[in-house]
Amino acid sequence: MNWIDILTRLIRRTTSDLPADVEGALRAALAAEPAGSQAAVTLGAIAENTRLAREQGTPLCQDTGTLTFFWRVPRGTDTFELEQAAREAVRAASAEGLLRANTIESLTGRSVDANVAEGCPVCHFEQVSPVSDLRSFEVWLLQKGGGCENMSAQYSLPCDIEGRRYGRDLDGVRACVLHAVCRAQGLGCAPGILGVCVGGDRAEGYLEAKRQLLRPLPDASPERELAALERRLLADANALGIGPMGLGGRATLLGVKAAARTRLPASYFVTVAYMCWACRRRGVRVSGETVEWLG
């Protein structure tokens, strides 16, 4: 199995080919905006850009993002080799112009060669057990740019939001999430998609919120309360009128995906991962010699 080749193909597909569910949601958003409006013009350009990037095999957005690989591997897998393959694939994709020189040494400001450095790209491994097929690997890539990452936020309930005190319940969660959306305005490249994590510690909250972005848009949480929260937050956010790129309009969000994690008695974090409309997430499943593209 040539992992470098497979992962390079995964990067090419992720960076240039917007998932069908996201493209469909954008198309529906365009149809709902009045013809000739700022929102419709913006969504029209987004549709055209999506088509062009796919046809040309070039990046949808010049900010090719933080590259985060989410792996599900058989129990007992030596992950070192897979992480090395991810680094080599990123190196190859950078040379090909699929990824911008997008990695900066924080202290010196120097650009890092080929986007490969310590902890870069990011790999999260989950060993799946028990497994029926010990040779089955699944890996998802998320490319999330800096504009939307800057709009992600974490709240600690109870807290004061716009002059009101909110407590440790779903009303508090709603207030936090909507506040993050309102604060972001168009800066996260609306219409966006939210990953939300209720609970966890601060680090786990951000990771789980980001992981939620891997879910397809039509997917509803299997937990009834969370599914209701997802629906309500989406409707509430789209009542704010922020619209595509913050120029006004109906489509502020395309989806909300929420999860809950356990927490300490003393903590109640609400974490929001804001993803731009260019939600670049694709996956691949490799079973023996069979390669199946996902997403």
Partner: protein
């Protein structure tokens, strides 16, 4: 829809209104965090920005075998990061167009009114589409110092689409939308169970 051609005259720029769609053609210069800080601190600019356009963009650019450059992706980056520097750059260099995304703050808006400059919103993330509008890379400055994403690229563009977000008469698309959004935020939460505790 207005056609704007480089060099951009003050009279034409002062005639633009928020919400208007424009097509920009001719030379534009990219610049983001490193360049703005450098210029605001009095650094010399290797090109003249007078009657010119600064595009907040860090493109994906590939070096061709013949030594030339090919622009692969070139959408706008968030402009707010340049708010501390933008007003000084407009005043000192006679910039007429700022192209970016997300709008800018009150100092930039004042500088636009005072010096005859407008802020244009390009579609964020539309990097493949906007790269198509770049017909030629005329040159690049600060490539080694700032790196490819932060360098000053000289693009010759044709019919580069944007919307006037801030004009010279105090019009600002973003502040209107934002004020309404915060009003609705209170309404949405006020009518639910999220009462004051």
């Amino acid at each position: 829809m207005s056609e704007l051609n480089y060099p951009f005259s003050e009279a034409v720029v002062r005639g633009l209104r928020v919400g208007e769609i424009v097509h920009v053609s001719g030379r534009i210069f990219t610049g983001r965090d490193r360049l703005h800080k450098y210029l605001a601190e009095g650094g010399a600019c290797p090109v003249s920005l007078s009657d010119g356009a600064i595009y907040h963009c860090g493109p994906v650019v590939v070096r061709e075998a013949d030594g030339g450059w090919r622009v692969v992706a070139a959408g706008p980056t968030t402009s707010q990061r340049e708010e501390p520097y933008m007003a000084d750059v407009i005043a000192d260099h006679g910039v007429r167009l700022i192209i970016g995304k997300g709008g800018m703050g009150p100092r930039t808006q004042q500088a636009c009114a005072a010096h005859g400059c407008v802020y244009l919103q390009a579609v964020g993330g539309a990097a493949a589409l906007l790269a198509q509008r770049v017909r030629r890379v005329a040159g690049v400055c600060f490539l080694d110092e700032f790196g490819p994403a932060e360098a000053l690229w000289q693009f010759d563009v044709e019919s580069f689409e944007a919307v006037v977000g801030i004009d010279t008469r105090g019009g600002n698309l973003y502040t209107e939308v934002e004020a309404r959004a915060w009003r609705r935020f209170s309404e949405v939460l006020g009518c639910g169970k999220g009462e004051t505790r």
